[in-house]
Structure formats: C-alpha cells, structure tokens
C-alpha cells in the first residue's frame, strides 16, 4: 500500500539519527559543552551507573548529577549499550516530534490540517539544535520528549498523566516545575485561544496541583530508596541552584559565577534562580486566554535563563514557536532575531574551539558568543510576546497600534 509521501520525511530523519548515533560522530560529540551539560551528559551517566554497580555512592562526588530515577532506569531497564541507546534516543525524538504534531492538531481542532503537523514534526527532527544533543546522547533530548508528552496530555485535557509526567521531568530538570501553572491552565481551558476568559475551576486546579505534589513526593521517596540516602538532593536539585560545576555551556550563568566574588555569590545565586520564577504569574495572568502561548513563553524564558542549558532547550523553544502561526505577521524585528540566532550558532562552536582546543582565544570570546545567544533567545521571546499581544487586537488599514 502506498505510504504517504510526507511521512517519509520524518521517517528518514529518524533513520538518519539512528545511523549517526551509531557512527563515530556521536562519541566525538558526546562531551561537547554546547550539546551536553554536567546534568545531562551521557559520559557522566555511564560513570554514575558504573559507580552504582560497584557499590560506591554515585552522589558522593560531583561527577554524577542525573536524577536517581534516571539511574534506576538505566541500570535496570535500559542498559547503556550503543545499539540500545541509539534506539532509545531515536525513539525519544520520534515521540517528541509526534507529540508536537498532536499538539498542533489539538490546537486547530475541529479543523484538520495534517500537513502542517507533519511539517512541524519534521522541522523538529531536522532542527540542528535538536539533532546535535541527540547525537551527543544528552539526556536533554529525553527531557524534551517528556515535556512534549506531558504537554500533549494536557492539551487533551487529561490532568493526571500530564502532571505525572511533569513531576517525573522535574527530577531531571528542576526549572520545569515552573511550567506547572500554565500546564494546569491548559488542562482546564484547552489548547485553543479564547476571546472570553473562562471561569477558573479552582477545585480542579487544586486537585491537579495536589496530584503533582503527591507524585513529586512519591518520586522523591523512590529516588531516596534508589540512591540509598538523601545526598542526591544536593547533587541534582542543589546543582541547579548552587552551580557547583562551572563547565561552560551556552547559558549566562557559568561565566558570571566564575568571576563572581565569594561574598556575593549566595545572593546572586538566589537572584538568578528566582529570576524565571518572577515571570510565571505575570505571563500566566496576561495570557489567560491562551495558556499554550503562556507555556511557550515560559519555556522560552526557562531555556534562556536556566543554570545548565544546552542547545536542545533552545531547540524545543524554537520548535514550539511553530504552533502559533497567527503571530508571525506581527513580529517587529524577525530578521534581526533570525540573524542573531545565526550569528550565535556560528560563533558558539567557533569560539569554543578557539578557546579550548586551539588555545588562541580566551574565555571572553566564548562568553561573548553566549551573550549573543542569550540576546537572540531573549529577542525571540520579547518579540513573540509582543506579537502575541498584538495579535489579540487585529488589523485594519489606516490604523496603527502602539504601546505607551
């Protein structure tokens, strides 16, 4: 029977991934600082598994910072053999792409526009920001898949699986907790934008939040059981907040805290950790009518300002942008933003190589390229925000809309 042509593209991309992971390209990329952070690196995962199997507490030192649940998964169900990991990562990416398509379909229901969903999935798979970390076997790809799966369940207005998956995700990536509020809002109001705000059903919301708390506690207990003690809290969640490992990454924290004086360090760590938190309430309040958009914006903020980002965070955020075509006409400076992204994408690996491999550059080069990357992401978020607001007003010849 004839297979639909458009389906071949994502299938091909998945096969490409599978092949590339098994090729020698993957070990070469495995410890690249842009693709894998200390929280998501595959090498560290294997080291943690080895320590665990030898009876040494993997959370005793600072090498292993994955969550105990990941440790449990990879020591029991999924052995970290090359073929198995290639399958797992490819499957995760496929799942993420499929969820993205499903989310789009749920958003435009009852209209059906199959083509664009497939396009979104293919773009997700083809995006080098996502391809790179997958080839590097960074667990951030698995995190993305979890997030998109949770979002899909939320979009289908099924609170329990959504909240469960988000709780699971928060163990690998603590800032994902901030997405609880928009997720619950999506569960309650659905994926589509509404003109009239719905009454918030506080009971249902409370139940969802309570379930989240319950799942978190359960998972925390399971983690403690796996790890044997509470040491994992400091090494995984504590690492996100206290930044013990100053390995370079595309984010803004590492160099700031490399150069920061010890006396001010605790306060600035607190400030930087709370910074994404301060946006949750305003954005959710402003976009009550379109919680999916709020989710998208918050995910963008998290991926720009989290402590250990990788390129897959930016990739997820940029892929989610494809869910909102209605705002494209309202971008104020799309060309600038796109060029900034291109600029950063070229500079990041170049200056990283110059600093650490060739030795002819110094740390400031790479730091500057992370600033450009941060600026590019920030510009995207601000522009999307403005466009999202502007799109609620509409167009008419002869009239212009400005902000005071």
């Amino acid at each position: 029977m004839p297979v639909r042509l458009p389906l071949l593209i994502p299938a091909f991309l998945l096969l490409l991934r599978f092949g590339l992971i098994l090729s020698p390209l993957s070990p070469w990329l495995r410890d690249d600082h842009q693709l894998a952070s200390p929280l998501t690196s595959f090498t560290r995962l294997k080291e943690g598994i080895w320590l665990f199997q030898k009876g040494i507490d993997p959370y005793h030192g600072g090498v292993f910072r994955h969550s105990p649940l990941t440790l449990a998964l990879f020591t029991t169900l999924i052995p970290p053999l090359p073929l198995v990991s290639a399958l797992v990562w490819t499957a995760a990416d496929g799942l993420a792409a499929w969820c993205l398509g499903e989310i789009w379909r749920a958003r435009i229901a009852p209209n059906a526009d199959e083509g664009r969903g497939l396009l979104l999935a293919s773009l997700y798979l083809a995006n080098p920001y996502n391809l790179g970390p997958t080839l590097a076997l960074s667990t951030s790809s698995l995190d993305n898949a979890l997030l998109l799966l949770s979002l899909r369940f939320a979009v289908l207005q099924r609170p329990s699986p959504a909240v469960l998956l988000l709780a699971l995700l928060s163990f690998s990536s603590l800032p994902a907790v901030l997405l609880l509020v928009p997720l619950v809002m999506i569960v309650l109001s659905g994926p589509r934008a509404t003109a009239v705000p719905r009454k918030v059903d506080l009971n249902a919301a409370g139940r969802a939040v309570g379930e989240f708390a319950l799942y978190t506690i359960a998972f925390a207990g399971a983690s403690t059981f796996v790890a044997g003690s509470w040491g994992w809290v400091l090494q995984t969640w504590g690492a996100t907040v206290m930044l013990p490992d100053l390995t370079p990454n595309p984010g803004l924290w590492w160099y700031f805290f490399t150069e920061m004086f010890d006396h001010y360090r605790p306060f600035f760590l607190l400030t930087f950790s709370l910074h994404p938190l301060i946006y949750v309430a305003p954005i959710c309040l402003k976009f009550q009518h379109d919680p999916l958009f709020a989710f998208f914006l918050l995910q963008g903020i998290i991926s720009t300002f989290k402590s250990y980002p990788t390129l897959s965070d930016a990739g997820l955020y940029v892929s989610l942008l494809g869910l909102f075509p209605e705002i494209y006409t309202y971008f104020r400076h799309p060309l600038v933003t796109a060029l900034l992204h291109l600029h950063a994408a070229v500079l990041l690996p170049l200056f990283h190589y110059l600093w650490l491999d060739a030795g002819t550059g110094n740390a400031n080069f790479f730091y500057a390229s992370t600033l450009v990357f941060g600026l590019a992401n920030g510009a995207t978020i601000v522009d999307s925000l403005w466009a999202g607001l502007r799109s609620t007003i509409g167009e008419k010849d002869g009239w212009d809309v400005v902000q005071l």
Partner: protein, 548 residues
Amino acid sequence: MAAVHTPLLEGEAKERGEDVLGLSLAHPVHEDSTRRAIVASYWIVVLLVFPVWYYMTSIERLPLPTERIDLLGQREVQFPIKIDVDLGDIGDLELSRTYPRKLVEDLARLRQGSSGELPPLAFDIAISAGEDPGDPCTDAASGEEEDSYRLHFRTQDAYPMFASCGRHLLIGARDGTDLPHSVGDTLRDLLAPYSNSRLHPPAAESRIAQYSPTYRLAFTLLNEDASVGGAAVGWEIQQALSQYIRPTLAQLSALHNFTIESQVQYFGGLTFDPLGPLSDDDGVESWRLSEEQMSVFVNSAEWTLTSGVSNDPVLHFILFVPSADRRPLYTETRLRLQRNDSFILPQWGGVVIHNPSGHHEGAPNTLLSAHDLAGPFKVFRSQLSALLGVPQFPPQVVTSAWQHKSPITPWQLDALKRRRALENVRNSADALRSIVSLVNQIENMPVGQDVLGQVDGALAALDATTPAASSSSLSQILAHSIDAFTLSSKAFFNPGMIGLLYYPTEHKYAVYTPLFAPVAVPLIVALVREIKAARERRRAAANKQKTE
C-alpha cells in the same frame, strides 16, 4: 493628526457606521485589572525576597553590652585584710589602750602618702590583749585563714625585733615605745611591698613578666662547644626540678599553670667573644662578660631554646657551660655582693654560668648530678620568683627555720596575688573598652555569638571581683580576675573579629547596581503610575458620586 481609538470611541465609530471590525481593544488581555495584578505580582516577589537578601548579606553584629563596659571604670576592687592584734603580755595598760589607736593611725597613713602605688586594702582590725602568749609559730602552723594576719607583741628578750612565720608577725617590743621601724612601715613592707621603692626598685619592676595563666618553663643545658672536651653531656634535671623548682611552682599554682620542658645542647655558640683572658687579684685567669654583652647573650638565631608548639609565653632558664678553652667565665659586676655567674634577662628568663672543674681541653665529658645542680637551681629558683613578680621580703623581718621548705612566704604570695588580680582587672577592663571602640570604629567587623558570650563572661567575672559580690576572699578575687582576663583576651583576639575589609562599599555598589538599578526603574515607574491611576479613579468616582 492621529486620533486615539479607545473602546469608547469604538462605540461612537460604530454609530458612525465605520467598519472597525478586526481592530479591537476589547480583548480581556488588555483590561486594567490584569495589568494591576501583574504589577502586584512582580512587587510581591520583590518584597518577599528583600528580607532574604538582607539576611544573606548582612554581617552578624550582635550588640555588645556597652553600658556595663562603660561603668567598669567606676568600679574598685577592694582586698579585705583582717588584722588581729594580740597585745600579748604588754603589761602597760596605758600602752594597750593607746597603741591600737596609733596602729590605726599608722595604717591610715599607709593609705595616703607612700612612695609607690598602694593596692586598695580594706582593713579590719581587731585587738585582743592579755592572753596567754604562747608561740604562734609552733601552734597552728597550718590551718591559717586566708586574708587574715596576726600581730603578736612580745616583750621577752628572746624574740628578735620583727619575726614572722606563716601569716603571723611577732614584734619584740621591750617597752613598746622605741621601735626602729614603725610597725606600720613593716606592715606596709609585708602587705604592699611593691610600693616601697627601696624594696622593689624600678629595675625589679621591669623584670616582671606579663601575666599569663599558663607558662612554659624551658630549661636548657647549653654547652658552648662540646667538641673540645670538658662538656656537660647530661644532667639529672628531674631530681633538681623536684627539689628546687617544683615547690615554688606548687605555691604559685593558684596563679599560673606551668609546663616544663628541658633539653641539652652541645653547640651553643656565642656571637661575640667574652673579654679576656683577664687576671684578677689572685692571679687566676678568667673571662668576663660585660653588661653590653650580657644584653645580647642569647643567640636566638642559632639556639633553639623552646619547642614553640603552643602560644604560651615561655620563661627560659639556661645553664651555660662555656667551652673548655674559655673557662672560667664570669660576669662583670661592680657590686661585691652580687653573684658573678648569673643574670636575668628581663621578662625573658635567666642565665646561670656553670664553670666545671675541668679547665683544659680534652677533659672528659661529665654528667651533672643533682648535687652539682644544687647551686644553679637555687639561682634559677630565685630568678623564677623575680620573673614572676614575687616581691622581696623586707630584710628587717626574720623568718623562722621552717620557712625554707616553702621558699615563698604567705605574705609575699598574698602581695603577688593582689598585684596580679589588680592587673588582670585593669587589663580586662581595658580590653573590653578597646573591643567596644574597635567595633564602633570598623563598621564591617562582625560580632559573633562567641565573642558576645566571652564579653558577657568577662563582665560577670569582673562583677564578681567587686566588694558587692558575695565572694570576696583573695583567692576568689584572683580566680575571677583570671577568668576575666582569659575571656577578655579571647574575645579581643577572636579570629572572627577581622572586619570584612576586603569589600569596601564602592565594590558593593559596583556589584549590585548593574542588575538591580535597571530592573528597579520600570518596577517603580509602574507602581507610581498605578498609584496615580488609582487615585484618579477614586477622584473620578467621588466626582461622579457628587454629581449624581
């Protein structure tokens, strides 16, 4: 001109029939209430973080009890002295009536004019007369009360003019009128010897080492050059110590804790050459150390005299054996009565030069037995007493035979205790006052809980030394003064009291401003706007109510 389109105008435009579809500000996202909620949510987070910031960046500066410290200067320590006068067999009843008054006058004079500074003594005098005299030295030799002294007058000729045993002073008064030194003067020499500049010259005062609750005594047998022979390669130090030094240490145990260490050195070279050889009147050749040479005698660069393990102050005692080709070695003295083979280095220790009998090179090396060490260790003992501040005993008072077993009389010990207690109280008060002024001057200096505890402890100990406190015997005053001294030193030298001098205020501003100034501006502007708008609304609502 561009016209501003508001929902009101939209209604009007609809009336005019204009097509305004597709452009509407009616979407709930643009409502004022949403905006107010947003600004409020930003401000709530900021206000919640503010106390956390304050807590995290503040330096712990607990308040010191400054009022109590200020009042310290007005306090006075008073040492209670109880004097029992036993007139004995002075038959003259007239004298037995007038003499107590004369004694009181003498003691009153003590308080006023005197060549030195008197400690604050509170006298309590009781007179008893006509009892069976007895010999106070043989009765009740032990069991003496602290702070309580007894004067016994005797008219028998068998008694010398002034004699003392324990805390008793026996005065041989033949007829009670012509005593060469007044009883008051002798009492002053016994009770407050530091105020008598003849008994306690300034040279003796400068020798006294500073008070410390623990002292390390380092004894060294220092051979100048053992390779030429005739050296002392060992000594029976433990016996000598237990015979001569330890009794003194036991007597001083209320004041100091002592640790002893000793060593033998074989090559302790001098940095200079002694003067000589000189022949003295008897034709004997000897070498001499001049006074200048004595002051640079200790070759600290070459001699490792103490272990340096702890921070306790050290008193060094060196038994110096000159090399066999430069013997005998003496010091130059102008006074015939002074010993010519020992000297004290003020506040540091003492040196005794031992010239063994083997004068020539190649003589066998010897071990110093306890018998050989008797002389030097007696000198060490007196040097130790001088360094620790034990006052001289007045020469006009004869001490009885059994005093030699305990080399320091209770009079001297009590006077030393009074002196040290007073010193400690004064130094503690000074330290506490310095702490307060230092903390006030340096703003970044943290004051932790431990410092506060130590200051409180020192103040409590100082309170316990005042007459108002219930305990007021000399040993208790001394113990409290030692506590006060220790605690105030600990508080003053507390390592946490180093101010955060590395972070001047400009750096603080430089670090905080780039992030928080641009962040604060829109927050504040928005807040101000909202407040103004709220006021406008209230005024408009009030106006509307008025017009209705």
